[in-house]
């Protein structure tokens, strides 16, 4: 058996064991949270006894409903073992109406500490300064980026961007206002960059473009401004766009780390780009703590490798259990690799992007 096949089998075995452990945790009265214990009672089956591996979970649990994160008070998600410990409340969505809320304690730190191990010290020097230009506020990302910087001995500056406001402006066709807000954000970011020493930048692709354009219009560049690594996520990055970012804005001199993640799942890692990839980015979930599958939305079956399907997320930590959540994204299913011997998702874009207009704004 080839090495990769063995790695795949080992990863799968670890995942199966982790699934059994996490389900046991969330559905046992001494450790689980009120929401899942009540849910199991209503469903009239015992996940703790019946889920022994991933296949059991996939066969027995329905899709996680995001309304549960809107409608329920946060305390219903507190596992018994965490009772009495104050928690962080992180939000996602919420352009209109109630946002989805996920509570947490240490998960984001674990995710981002692990992620730090994948970063190259040349692009993301230790003991230096980072700048995050993006959604802070109630988002997990703000604390996560600061933690990531801290883990590497760095401190982080922040410039906030409110994606809910941008999406609303775009939806209402107030393009001038959206542009003015973007300029306002870029003004703040470049002010920090010009007055402080910053080597690593976390931002969204569109803000990266605008910040780079600001420097270039002044005869400078991101590299000249001292940036050595860019950590980027939030919106679609198709191969042409990724190539544009790498070749033209980062001049193939600045390290580029694309990310895919969200408040509910955590942070996926990307396969380091090689010429054969032709700038097609593949992400791998932080398995076994989370799992991503690419499904045919009509049959719920995994699509073949190389085919497009809808992304399904499963989060498996002691703080949060979220089985089979249908994300509003579609992606290409990719094969396992040695670095990450499980399925990957590539060229992620909003679900139905080819058939309907999606408001992504700058986020």
């Amino acid at each position: 058996m080839a090495d990769l096949d063995i790695q795949i089998q080992e990863a799968r075995a670890a995942l199966d064991a982790h699934v059994a452990e996490i389900v046991q945790w969330h559905f046992s009265p001494e450790t689980g949270c009120p929401f899942w214990l009540d849910w199991a009672r209503d469903a009239d089956w015992d996940p703790a006894a019946e889920v022994k591996c991933l296949d059991d979970l996939l066969a027995k649990f329905p899709h996680f409903q995001d309304e549960w994160l809107r409608d329920q008070q946060p305390e219903v998600w507190v596992p018994a073992k965490f009772k009495g410990k104050p928690f962080n409340i992180f939000e996602t969505g919420g352009t209109t109406g109630m946002p989805k809320q996920r509570i947490g304690w240490e998960d984001y730190k674990i995710d981002y500490s692990e992620f730090s191990d994948t970063l190259d010290d040349a692009a993301f020097p230790r003991d230096h300064y980072w700048l995050m230009v993006g959604p802070t506020g109630p988002r997990r990302l703000r604390l996560s980026i600061e933690h990531l910087a801290n883990v590497r001995g760095c401190s982080c500056y922040f410039v906030d961007l409110d994606p809910r406001w941008v999406k609303r402006l775009i939806k209402e066709k107030q393009f001038d206002q959206a542009k003015a807000y973007m300029e306002h954000v870029v003004d703040q970011a470049t002010t920090i960059m010009k007055n402080r020493s910053v080597s690593a930048l976390f931002t969204t692709p569109k803000l990266l473009e605008s910040i780079a354009e600001r420097y270039e219009s002044e005869g400078s560049s991101l590299y000249d401004a001292g940036i050595r690594g860019v950590f980027c996520g939030g919106t679609t990055m198709d191969p042409q766009y990724t190539r544009f970012l790498c070749e033209e804005l980062l001049e193939n001199k600045i390290g580029f780390v694309p990310t895919y993640g969200n408040t509910l799942m955590g942070l996926a890692k990307h396969k380091p780009l090689t010429p054969e990839d032709k700038y097609s980015i593949t992400y791998y979930a932080p398995q076994p703590r989370a799992l991503m599958r690419v499904l045919n939305p009509d049959t719920n079956a995994p699509v073949e490798y190389g085919e497009w399907g809808r992304v399904e997320l499963t989060t498996l930590t002691k703080e949060f259990f979220m089985p089979r959540f249908f994300e509003r994204d579609e992606a290409i299913r990719r094969e396992p690799i040695e670095l990450y011997p499980w399925d990957g998702v590539a060229e992620v874009r909003p679900f139905g992007a080819l058939t309907k207009k999606i408001v992504e704004g700058v986020y």
Binding site: E216, Q240, F244
Partner: protein
């Protein structure tokens, strides 16, 4: 199948994102066109000044000669296209295959473009109203009547957000290069052919390639072109026209709503003008903004509608390679069905009659494209919904309206052919600001004089005339050079 790259100031750029251009009947992939992301244009626009600089190194009279040569090359030569080559026949076949326009009409459009390029000196002379062309080159000079004048370019490049459905619009941007202004072309998704063939012909004729960029892409690319270019020409709906109203950077070419107006003094002889009306409606597939979409008269309108229906209604859908083909295909899925749905809805209104119904079904649906055969409606009032509409196929409403109310009721009209000998009415029509091109007399709406401006002069759009004062000695010395 040809791979067509993005062109960045003359240099090919192989995008990783491509869109297929499909044959509307066979489904054959004719080309894969590289798609530009908006950021490419944003970056390249930093070098836009260079496009004008390289053109200003060449005297306008030489650029005019290059245009003539380019016209010949465009019409007759085998020219490079992406990773292949393209003969004139290839061009007509490909353009027909992707836009749905019959091949013989594509060839006719080639002749039209060739004519414009070949008469560039006369066209520039008429567009500038006989201006000494060195004044454009230098930016200032002395008019024939001895008055100093300055023409200041308002942008180093003109952006063009081009449509897919009407190859005829390309004549509008041809005078730009000889006026030493660069070009940013965003082709329509189904009509990349003309921009790329013109680029090949221009550069082969000696125009510096650095003066031209071609950025295919979707709506985002169009929006980027509008926001980045100091002057931009776009084509769109009535709503698009409204959106950019008052924006001096943007010249919008919307629907034409072109009309034939029969004066009370001639309307009793309406049969004399039947050929003229039919040609205005049907020629060049009825797709152009200068095709007639309304015949207005105070009486005999039922008979006129019946006669037009009798003349044009029976015309059948023919293969695009058939020299007799008169109808163009709708190549965007669902579009013809939606258009026909709107017409059927409109015909529900009391007073609106579909006159071509007796000549068979109008909507013909095929596997990959659809057609709508010539449709004539009768409206017994100018206030009906269908009295003032336009679609991209031979379609006309014959509208009953008293002559004294016509000017007010026709609304915005690109071409009005008013057939009348009534000089009082002709004077009122001349003053009507809702009419752009005015023909007084028995002239079809589609009759164009290339030496006259179309929806405003492109010279006035690209240049600002302004005062320029300097000592006479300096003026004389510089103008003598």
């Amino acid at each position: 199948m040809i791979n067509i790259p993005v062109i960045r100031w003359g240099e090919p750029y192989e995008s990783l994102d491509t869109e297929e251009v499909i044959h509307h009947r066979t489904g054959e992939v004719l080309a894969k066109v590289g798609q530009a992301n908006p950021g490419l244009l944003a970056r390249d626009m930093r070098q836009a000044a260079r496009a004008r600089e390289v053109l200003r190194e060449i005297p306008i009279k030489d650029l005019v000669e290059m245009m003539k040569k380019a016209g010949d090359l465009y019409l007759n030569a085998t020219l490079p296209l992406g990773d292949g080559v393209q003969t004139p026949d290839d061009f007509a076949r490909q353009q027909s295959a992707s836009t749905g326009l019959p091949e013989h009409m594509c060839k006719f459009n080639m002749e039209k473009n060739h004519f414009v390029l070949n008469h560039m000196d006369q066209i520039l002379d008429s567009l500038t109203r006989g201006l000494d062309i060195s004044i454009l080159e230098r930016g200032f000079g002395v008019e024939d009547r001895g008055v100093p004048i300055s023409y200041q370019a308002q942008s180093p490049v003109l952006g063009m957000v081009l449509p897919s459905n009407s190859p005829g619009v390309h004549t509008l941007w041809m005078p730009v290069i000889p006026m030493q202004i660069g070009l940013i072309l965003k082709p329509g998704p189904q009509e990349p052919w003309t921009p790329y063939r013109m680029f090949a012909a221009f550069t082969e004729a000696g125009v510096p390639k650095e003066a031209i960029g071609i950025y295919p892409g979707g709506g985002e690319m169009g929006a980027e072109t509008v926001s980045r270019c100091g002057r931009v020409m776009i084509f769109g709906s009535t709503q698009t026209v409204k959106n950019y109203s008052g924006n001096e950077q943007v010249q919008v070419h919307g629907p034409g709503y072109s009309k034939i107006l029969l004066g009370d003094d001639v309307v009793d002889q309406w049969e004399d003008y039947l050929d003229l009306m039919a040609d205005s409606i049907y020629k060049n597939s009825g797709r152009g903004c200068i095709n007639c979409s309304g015949v207005w008269a105070s009486r005999h309108t039922e008979e006129i509608a019946e006669a037009l229906a009798e003349r044009l209604g029976p015309f059948e859908v023919k293969d695009p390679t058939d020299p007799e083909a008169g109808l163009a295909a709708f190549t965007v899925p669902g579009q013809a069905e939606a258009v026909w749905g709107m017409i059927e809805d409109g015909c529900e209104e009391t007073g609106t009659t579909h006159v071509t119904a007796k000549h068979g079904a109008r909507l013909e649906q095929m596997e990959r494209c659809d057609y709508i055969r010539t449709t004539i409606l009768h409206c017994d009032s100018p206030d009906l919904k269908m009295a003032n509409t336009e679609y991209m196929f031979p379609f006309t409403s014959v509208v009953k309206c008293p002559q004294e109310k016509m000017i007010e009721k026709i609304g915005g009209t690109l071409v009005a052919s008013a057939i009348t000998n009534d000089e009082t009415w002709a004077a009122q029509l001349t003053d009507a600001t809702n009419i752009d091109r005015l023909n007084i007399g028995a002239m079809p709406t589609i009759a164009l004089n290339w030496l006259q401006p179309h929806e405003g002069s492109i010279v006035d759009f690209l240049f600002r005339t302004r005062a320029y004062q300097t000592p006479d000695e300096r003026l004389k010395e510089l103008c003598a050079q």
